[in-house]
């Protein structure tokens, strides 16, 4: 029998034998999908806002009403006293809007009236959203009340493509595929490799004249098979729980996923070749695989936001390309025309990882 197949069958037998590893191999990805899908919320809603109305006119009350109309802000009870100190310092609200006295009278007279907005800038992103939202509300208030001193000549008509309902799960879940399908196959493969070293069975493999390539391919094949099963599971969760549907090219996605799983397993194996214990292998994979996949892949924020020199690193993170492909498949739907480079890149990465792993295994001998 082909020795790659022999090695692969042995790996699968060991994998299936250990009930705990099987449970983890499928339980953890499923759990991660649910966690990422439900817990990651990028849209900012329900911001506590305090309004101090020193004018107490119909117009100022209508302005306040407008601030709270969409779900962006929620009113909180103001304890009184120095607003900045009590409200912002204690975190009762994240923004305070103060409407000055004479607000309505000045506006009716065509005079400008400043409205003061104090925003908690601890969370920069949050602060920017609040600021834009208050400005936008103010502008639309002026429009509606007919208080605008001039009529805008340009009126943008905005339409959201691909995700008209701005469903966040459409952004988060395809991205999460890229994280889950990297980490778990890589971990399993790394553990299997480190176990051989830890238990000394690697010596039997050295003594058997199995080549490094056969050894790598056998191990990777086994965990790619496990990875395919994991893929089916997380896709099922995506379709059923998060209502994804295929917008792009399913064939391209299948090809890309297969290559991505191979890269993940090769990566785990390559890392674990040098590890003396399974524990060390887990840590190496977690740091070297998980962290870049989470931070440098565009999963949470666009890659172009990443600064030099880390943006250079990001260019080589396979998760970045796979997430792009995944989002295209489930949201955008451009297919081959837009994503042809993903399989090409993943193949190149795979070849590189294979070469490194083979080099690290050396001549299938004890290195002294």
């Amino acid at each position: 029998m082909n020795r790659v197949a022999v090695q692969c069958i042995k790996e699968l037998r060991q994998f299936v034998r250990d009930r705990l590893s099987v449970a983890l191999a499928f339980g953890l990805p499923a759990l991660s999908m649910l966690l990422y899908g439900f817990a990651t919320r990028l849209e900012i809603k329900n911001i506590p806002l305090v309004v101090q109305n020193l004018d107490n006119s119909a117009l100022s009350r209508s302005f306040i009403e407008r601030l709270y109309t969409n779900e962006q802000f929620v009113p909180v009870r103001c304890p009184g006293g120095d607003l900045v100190k009590t409200v912002l310092n204690r975190g009762i609200a994240e923004a305070v809007v103060i409407i000055p006295p004479e607000f309505a009278r000045k506006l009716r007279a065509g005079l400008p009236s400043p409205v003061e907005a104090l925003i908690d800038g601890t969370d920069v992103n949050n602060a920017r959203v609040i600021k834009n939202s208050i400005i936008a509300t103010t502008n639309s208030f002026l429009d509606i009340e007919g208080l605008s001193p001039f009529r805008p000549l340009i009126h943008p008509q905005v339409r959201l493509w691909f995700n008209p309902g701005r469903k966040e799960s459409l952004f988060v879940v395809p991205g999460a595929f890229g994280i889950v399908l990297l980490i778990y196959p890589a971990l399993l493969c790394a553990l299997a490799m480190a176990r051989e070293t830890e238990q000394g069975t690697i010596l039997q493999i050295y003594a058997s004249s199995l080549t490094a390539s056969e050894f790598i391919l056998g191990k990777v094949a086994a965990y790619v098979i496990v990875g395919i099963a994991e893929t089916l599971l997380v896709l099922l969760i995506g379709f059923v729980v998060f209502h994804l549907s295929v917008a792009g090219d399913a064939l391209l996605f299948t090809l890309g996923t297969l290559l991505y799983l191979i890269d993940a397993c090769l990566y785990g194996l390559m890392i674990a070749v040098g590890a003396k214990t399974q524990n060390a292998a887990v840590q190496a994979v977690a740091f070297g695989g998980f962290t870049p996949a989470l931070l440098l892949s565009g999963y949470l924020y666009p890659v172009r936001n990443i600064r030099y020199p880390f943006n250079l690193v990001a260019d080589f993170v396979p998760a970045r390309y796979y997430i792009e492909l995944s989002r295209d498949t489930f949201v955008r739907g451009a297919g081959w025309a837009g994503q042809w480079f993903v399989p090409v890149f993943l193949t190149l990465v795979g070849l590189l990882l294979f070469r490194i792993a083979r080099k690290r295994l050396g001549r299938m001998q004890i290195s002294a």
Partner: protein, 653 residues
């Protein structure tokens, strides 16, 4: 054991050596592990490599197995470079070479696949080798759930699947019980007879007796090479087994620096109930010993003459290299000697039993151990030793029976009582990731050694272990023998009254073993009661009294000599014209444990030799085998043990 069909296809070059090594060197970063080796191994030979820990044996095996490059020198296995000859080599590494989470069958299929054994031959060989090793009933059992002996037999099966010409076995019987050990070697003798070439490393010198040739390796070089007989003859000494009622006084009189110094005596080794004295001339030696006994006021000695053991060869040769010659620094006891004068027993157990669900692990064990006594509890894995010890220590509540420990019958785990007890376990005494000094300081603290004594005690341990100046070293880096001595030191710094030693010399070379036993005897002389568990029978000879356990029961008790004497039967050593065929024939008439091949000799245990032997000899000659010599041999403790266990229906697996 059923006879083996032809195992090895004859290679074209049958005349030259199968393994040839010239000028072999291996250098690690700052250590030269192998320093110029030259040797040949012939076809069908069992070649033994013996040597202390760190002698370079494993490195030699790695190179022969083609998994490591030598730094210099030529190595040829079946005429090729080892890496190119890997398909002709079966290699059992020191760590278990099996995938423990695969079943017996799956392990075999995996190895067969790796080594490209054609499919139809796999099932045939699997059937044959599993039967040969007595594993045929366990095909679907996980390798991890086999006993140590069965694991090693399975590993051997795996190595044989591709029918290699050469077998490399690196300490294959460490952690294997005596019965399985003997069966393992019977299998080796059988396949060597079929033409398999076997190189084996072992720390057990009784196993080295079963090799055709032996190389004594020390510091990466071969010091002695030859057949066991040649090595003994080269030593030029005779061994006298000396027994007397007052062994202690005789030992003192003979001790170096004692009242007598003589060129007559090459070595004195104390055992539990005898002294082994090596002399150049038996006649003069005996006279000399009797005269010393007379002048020391000891009655006449009982002296038996025998040939030196391979262990004697090993120790005396290495002593020439300056190993193991450092004078032993006695422990400075702060308390008064407890002495055997104390009337009460240190440990007394009466009808201890332990039931685990349906399974009765220990059945009615009674034993007494006095102060100053070294008591050995022997038995194969699963015989109930560990359970018994746990009950005696108070770690496990007996199902029935009574216990007394250091005069206490209740509250066996009270801190005050534990303070008077020392415990050294096989593996877990020291923290590998602490330095030597940190470990010793930790144990001083745990056992509350008085502040004023700590420095002195730690220095004592360091100097007896020859580790002065290296106390900052990480403990995990020490070789096995040193670690064992260090753990012993750590467990006795608080001068315990009772000492439990669990397999204290497992995997330790003979030199370190002797040093450790010197320390143990010193504590016994001071009055410490010592309970040793072991399944290594050579070790048991060091005990004053022994208890043999089998299937949860104490089946024999007494001094080593008493136990040997109590066994019915006699050991007959036969030399015949065809050892293997003789063994096969005799096994058709006798139970297989009664027949064992020791290199070119056969050991046969007969209950009634006068009646049985003539019939057996004629059986051999009827089959065209010439019996060249037959003589009575001395029963080893292992022979006695195996006989006892087998008569009671074998060991449980």
């Amino acid at each position: 054991m059923p006879p083996v069909e032809t195992v090895v296809q004859q290679a074209p070059d049958t005349d030259g050596p199968v393994i040839s090594v010239r000028g072999l060197r291996k250098r690690y970063r700052d250590l030269e592990a192998v320093r110029g080796l030259d040797f040949d191994i012939r076809r069908g030979e069992i070649f033994g490599l013996i040597g202390p820990d760190g002698a370079g044996k494993t490195t030699i095996f790695h190179i022969l197995g083609g998994v490591m490059e030598p730094t210099a020198g030529q190595v040829a296995v079946v005429g090729r470079k080892p890496a190119d000859a890997r398909s002709e080599i079966g290699y059992l590494t020191q760590q278990f070479s099996l995938n423990l989470d695969l079943s017996v069958d799956e392990n075999l299929s995996y190895t067969a696949g790796l080594r490209r054994v054609p499919e139809p031959m796999v099932s045939e060989r699997r059937r044959r080798y599993l039967k040969l090793m007595g594993l045929d009933a366990f095909g679907s059992r996980l390798a991890g759930q086999l006993s140590g002996g069965m694991k090693q037999k399975l590993a051997l099966c795996c190595a044989l699947m591709s029918r290699p010409q050469v077998l490399l076995l690196d300490e294959p019987t460490t952690g294997v019980d005596p019965v399985s050990r003997r069966e393992f070697w019977d299998v080796l003798a059988g396949i060597a007879h079929e033409g398999m070439t076997i190189a084996v490393a072992t720390p057990y010198l009784d196993e080295a007796e079963r090799c055709d040739r032996v190389a004594l390796v020390h510091e990466g070089a071969i010091r002695q090479i030859g057949t066991p007989v040649e090595l003994r003859e080269r030593l030029g000494l005779h061994r006298l087994e000396v027994r007397t009622s007052d062994l202690g006084r005789l030992e003192q009189a003979l001790a170096p620096g004692g009242s007598v110094e003589s060129a007559e005596i090459a070595d004195v080794q104390p055992f539990g109930d005898r002294l082994d004295v090596l002399v150049a001339d038996s006649e003069r030696g005996e006279r000399y010993l009797q005269s010393i006994a007379a002048s020391a006021g000891i009655g006449a000695l009982r002296i038996d003459r025998d040939e030196p053991t391979l262990e004697n060869v090993f120790v005396l040769n290495l002593r020439k290299e300056g190993l193991g010659t450092t004078a032993y620094k006695p422990f400075a006891f702060s308390g008064p000697a407890l002495g055997p004068s104390r009337k009460t027993s240190a440990i007394a157990a009466s009808k201890l039993s332990k039931q685990f669900g349906e399974f009765q692990a220990v059945k009615g064990v009674s034993l007494q151990i006095g102060y100053g006594e070294i008591y050995g509890l022997l038995g194969a894995n699963g015989a109930g030793k560990t359970t018994t010890i746990k009950m005696i220590c108070g770690l496990l509540q007996p199902s029935s029976g009574e216990m007394m420990l250091a005069g206490e019958t209740q509250r066996m785990r009270s801190p005050a009582l534990r303070q008077r007890i020392g415990y050294m376990s096989q593996k877990f005494t020291l923290y590998d990731d602490l330095t030597i000094l940190q470990n010793l300081e930790f144990y001083c603290g745990v056992y509350q050694v008085p502040m004023g004594l700590r420095k002195e005690r730690i220095n004592w341990v360091l100097s007896t272990c020859q580790l002065v100046g290296r106390e900052g070293m990480i403990t995990g880096l020490l070789p096995g023998g040193w670690k064992q001595r260090l753990s012993f030191g750590a467990s006795v710094m608080h001068e315990p009254e009772i000492l439990f030693l669990d397999e204290p010399t497992s995997g330790v070379d003979p030199i370190a073993r002797r040093q450790l036993w010197n320390m143990i005897r010193d504590f016994a002389r001071h009055g410490t009661a010592i309970l040793v568990t072991t399944h290594f029978l050579e070790e048991a000879e060091n005990c004053h009294r022994l208890g043999l356990m089998a299937a949860g029961e104490l089946v024999a008790q007494g001094s080593p000599s008493e136990i040997k004497k109590a066994q019915p039967g006699q050991l007959i050593v036969l030399v015949t014209s065809d050892t293997q065929r003789s063994s096969d024939l005799l096994k058709t008439k006798l139970e297989s444990w009664r027949v064992a091949i020791f290199a070119d000799k056969l050991h046969v245990v007969l209950d009634e030799p006068e009646r049985q032997l003539p019939a057996l000899v004629s059986l051999l000659s009827e089959n065209g085998i010439q019996v060249r010599s037959q003589m009575a041999g001395s029963f080893s403790l292992e022979d006695a043990f195996i006989g006892l266990v087998q008569r009671r229906g074998g060991v449980q697996s």
